[in-house]
């Protein structure tokens, strides 16, 4: 029986769970697939309903987690095998090569500018900017070390030459680590649904139809445009934006469930747009306005009254494009006035469904736990054990067990930490 804990997923939930457990004096392994911790929250600009800058409040947590003496953060790593039982899990972790010695790299970024190939889409910035083969995942990345995209690297060696720390190792091998833990917390988060399959909305066909996460990067001060809302077609600020809810969610053809956060997310984005550009006209197309959290309804009321955001109850039928201006044109049944209308705007933001993260099935198989029909982790008892998975000793929290906003994810993460401690204490006793 060991009382170390493995946390899978380094988003805000995973970070919080790790910090809580480590705070109790337990040893924690935090495994993150991406080369930096931070998760989706790091990609957001501001958070609703308080308008807090997302990375500002998250970055200290990321640092606290990374530098905590009880937490071993393994980035760019994946869980490959789990055997044993609660109190005694043996876990195989594959540490994928980042072709950089994390210990030696100082994050100076000299190598980044030395790399001659710089036309790869930057994942963090939703491909709205390009990066090189060697790159720092994002400005506030933790750990702040570079990594090499070997798939595209031609091994010119420029980076090695410029690196005074001698940190670059283009022949680094994958490494398999085995750890021994008593409990596992899964917080592997979500992915954004790709709306290009919803042909009628023109994502991918029309430049000025973007997703909400792309929009977040566009308005973020440390994003690809430095926070200027430059729409993709002409890099100009649009004078109106339409946000479309339930793109791929509450839709039995894609994801039947409600993603829970998009109504508020869009409200926040509309408010931000209005704050940055006072003449901006904002429209939100919705089916049911789901403002059910603390202070949410008030936030929506403010958006309506103070920020003049226009809420239109309708799910648009189709989006076309004005060939001249490249303005998206929305065709919709205004269900309140019961009339079909046409609305031309400067930019359309699709508030896409949030879906279980890629690879959740494989992870579930490795962990030996069940998924529900929406491919979220199944919980043991939806009332009284909302954080226990179908297998003892494995807890699930955050979006990977169903739609949630940040405070709920943080709450669950803390709860999962408490449950892990409880499970370990009971096993020990």
């Amino acid at each position: 029986m060991v009382d170390d804990v493995l946390v899978i997923g380094g988003g805000v939930a995973g970070i919080q769970a790790s910090i809580d457990l480590a705070g109790r004096g337990l040893k924690v392994y935090l495994v993150e697939r991406f080369p930096s911790i931070g998760g989706k929250m790091a990609q957001l600009d501001k958070t609703f309903p308080t308008g807090d800058c997302s990375i500002c409040i998250l970055a200290p947590k990321m640092m606290e987690c990374f530098s905590h003496e009880n937490i071993d953060v393994l980035t760019h790593a994946e869980v490959k095998g789990v055997s044993g039982n609660a109190g005694d899990f043996r876990v195989k972790i594959l540490k994928k090569p980042r072709y950089v010695d994390e210990e030696k790299c100082t994050g100076c970024g000299d190598c980044v500018s030395a790399c001659p190939y710089i036309n790869l889409p930057d994942e963090f910035d939703m491909a709205l900017r390009s990066r090189g083969n060697i790159f720092i995942p994002f400005l506030q990345a933790v750990p702040r070390v570079v990594m090499v995209d070997r798939e595209h690297c031609v091994k010119c060696g420029n980076c090695q030459v410029i690196c005074d720390a001698g940190a670059i190792d283009l022949y680094q091998k994958p490494e398999e680590i085995e750890i021994h833990v008593g409990a596992i917390i899964v917080a592997c988060g979500f992915d954004s649904f790709d709306p290009s399959g919803i042909k009628e909305y023109g994502y991918g066909r029309y430049k000025n139809v973007i997703t909400a996460l792309e929009y977040e990067r566009l308005v973020c001060a440390s994003g690809p445009t430095g926070g200027h809302l430059d729409r993709p077609s002409d890099k100009k600020t649009p004078n109106s934006i339409a946000f479309i809810q339930c793109v791929g969610s509450r839709d039995v053809n894609h994801n039947p469930y409600c993603s829970s956060v998009c109504c508020m997310h869009a409200t926040k984005e509309a408010i931000l747009a209005k704050e940055h550009y006072p003449s901006m006209e904002n429209y939100i197309f919705y089916t049911d306005m789901r403002a059910f959290g603390k202070g949410f309804q008030e936030y929506v009321d403010r958006a309506k009254n103070e920020y003049e955001v226009r809420y239109i109850r309708s799910k648009p039928g189709e989006i076309t494009e004005d060939k001249e201006t490249k303005n998206p044109v929305i065709w919709y049944d205004d269900t309140v006035t019961r009339q079909v209308k046409r609305l031309e705007v400067g930019l359309v933001v699709l508030c896409t469904a949030l879906v279980p993260s890629k690879g959740i099935k494989e992870l579930a198989d490795v962990l030996g736990v069940e998924l529900d029909k929406n491919r979220f982790f199944k919980i043991a008892d939806p009332l009284y054990a909302p954080l226990d998975s179908s297998r003892e000793g494995i807890l699930v929290c955050g979006y990977c067990q169903g739609p949630k906003d940040i405070p709920e994810a943080v709450t669950q993460a803390k709860g999962a930490a408490a449950r892990a401690a409880e499970v370990l204490a009971c096993l020990g006793a």
Binding site: C53, I55, C56, A59, G109, L139, Q140, A221
Partner: protein
């Protein structure tokens, strides 16, 4: 004759504006080397005395920076900063040394560019205005 090289004192809070200054560095945003940052935990710690003293010592400008209202790491301590700043502003105005020499900016941890711009603008403005008349050097 050597060009006038202003000296600017900037007070930054640990959580937002200092991090914003860090981000300016990480992003390699270039600005002139005239600013000296003094870190405090919170902009609420910035005693107006420090600002006055900076001017008396010879600062050509003083920048007071902190988290945006509503984002303060210490709930609402930056509200106090703002209140006190009103006093300083009036004082500087009455003294007649040029109101532009004192500036309050809220800078979040993501606003590296804002920090760099603030320094650039201030240096340019102060260069035009010339040395602070309160600076001891001028007296001699």
């Amino acid at each position: 004759m050597k060009e006038f090289d202003p000296k600017i004192v900037a007070f930054c809070c640990n959580w937002c504006s200092y991090a914003g200054a860090d981000l300016a560095g990480v992003s390699r945003m270039q600005y002139p080397p005239n600013v000296r940052i003094i870190k405090v935990m919170c902009s609420g710690r910035i005693d107006p005395l420090f600002v006055l003293m900076s001017f008396l010592e010879g600062a050509d400008a003083v920048l007071v920076t902190g988290c945006h209202i509503g984002d303060c790491h210490y709930i609402d301590a930056n509200h106090k900063t703002k209140n006190r700043f009103e006093f300083l502003k009036e004082m500087i105005a009455e003294l007649g040394i040029g109101e532009e020499r004192l500036r309050l900016e809220w800078i979040s941890a993501t606003e590296g560019e804002k920090f760099a711009d603030m320094v650039k603008e201030t240096v340019e403005k102060i260069k035009k205005m010339g040395p602070s008349p309160l600076s001891p050097k001028v007296m001699q």
